[in-house]
Symmetry: C2
Subunit: 218 residues, 2 copies
DNA sequence: ACCCAAACGTAACGGTAATTACAGTAGTCT
DNA sequence: AGACTACTGTAATTACCGTTACGTTTGGGT
């Protein structure tokens, strides 16, 4: 690991050839994400991506094959990091109302980040052209948070705090309550950014309705 | 009004010159809607629109000024017909559970029509480029149904069937419960079309949670 | 029947942007 | 060092598409 001796012969990483190409690739992907998120797929400009990434057009084409390949690689990278990204700060064994509030705020604040909204817009817009991609993305994103919340709810059920027959379904409903209103508005009004207070109020409403109504499903 | 005497001098309509131009215009708008919904704004092709509408490119440019103008006119037309489109078959004085179910199914079946989903996709994708448009559309669509449901809820409150402090807010929450899950999936999985049974089940869940939980807000 | 404006068809213009070709450079491995 | 590979820079190629120009046609009002 010494700076002068970075021989790749005995690197423990799986990749046989790490280093330069990887750096190029990472820079390309980063620039591609920026440009695609800003302008959308069709309006994104390959030259602009190279301008920002700093490599050369030829290398970009050599590595990704073309615009479509670059786009797919960029999405793949994003999908891979989603599981990490979407880790909910779990509320462990906190009481129900407090736990739901914490999880809800954590989730909703993330959700309304401009970067996330732009990503959502891009996926929705390209869902027809890249069906596998949109599906993979939504599935991963959904499942991660749903499982996490379901786990917490099961803990609360075990603690006798609430009666829920189907924790996954209940989790899904809670996220619906959290997300729907703001997602609708933010997707259609890109300039609108909810204030912290709005987010908290939204979470508060969702918690109340959820706790009050979820047992009706049994 | 006799067929042989259709003099425009004494026509009661506001338009001084009705007829040919209007027909052209209507045909253009219809074709434009198809093509824009199929391919999105950027990928839509003016020549393709003319091919489907049957007029000539020159006329199209004379009437709408260009791609942008055509797009805006198409959206405007759609926004105008939304109020009609979104009229909920109101449940009048039906009991709460039955009324919510009827309104919910009516709304949700409409919502998952491919045409509506494609429209939503288009609006989301272009929300940055045409902000006023996306906003006008979502506002109109939202308000129409929200007011209608709020009216019904107020009727039920008056009938003593439920206690709701803020009918508009409650209506909004009900639509969130209805829509969120399916909207998420259908927007990102264009090929997925929910079955009639899935829609009914979704409505049933929403009704249960809503009735059970909405009074918690007071 | 005549006239005018609107509609038509077609082709040309202009610009943009994806993709490829090619000649030169730099890094790495033996 | 030498060779092989990957990277760079730039320019050409190619295709597409929005937009405009222009000469012709047509339909309706007098």
């Amino acid at each position: 690991m010494s700076p002068s001796d970075s021989g790749p012969a005995d690197t423990p990483t799986v990749e046989p050839e790490a280093g330069r190409a990887e750096l190029r690739r990472a820079a390309f992907l980063k620039a591609a994400r920026e440009v695609f998120l800003e302008h959308g797929y069709e309006a994104a400009n390959m030259a602009e991506i190279v301008r920002r990434a700093g490599g050369s057009l030829s290398t970009l084409y050599a590595q990704f094959g073309g615009k479509k390949g670059l786009f797919e690689a960029m999405i793949d990278a994003r999908v891979s990091e989603i599981t990490t990204q979407m880790q909910l700060e779990l509320a462990a064994h906190a009481p129900l109302r407090e736990g739901l509030t914490r999880i809800g705020e954590d989730f909703l604040f993330r959700q309304v980040q401009p970067e996330n909204l732009n990503f959502f817009r891009l996926m929705v817009a390209q869902a027809k052209k890249f069906p596998e991609m949109a599906e993979a993305w939504s599935r991963r994103a959904q499942e991660a948070v749903r499982r996490a919340l379901a786990g917490y709810l099961e803990d609360r059920v075990a603690a006798g705090e609430i009666r829920i027959a189907n924790a996954e379904q209940a989790a899904s409903i809670y996220f619906d309550l959290l997300r729907s209103r703001m997602q609708f508005r933010t997707l259609l009004m890109p300039s609108y950014v909810p204030t912290e207070q709005e987010v908290r109020e939204q979470v508060e409403r969702a918690v109340k309705v959820f706790i009050g109504g979820i047992e009706s499903l049994n």
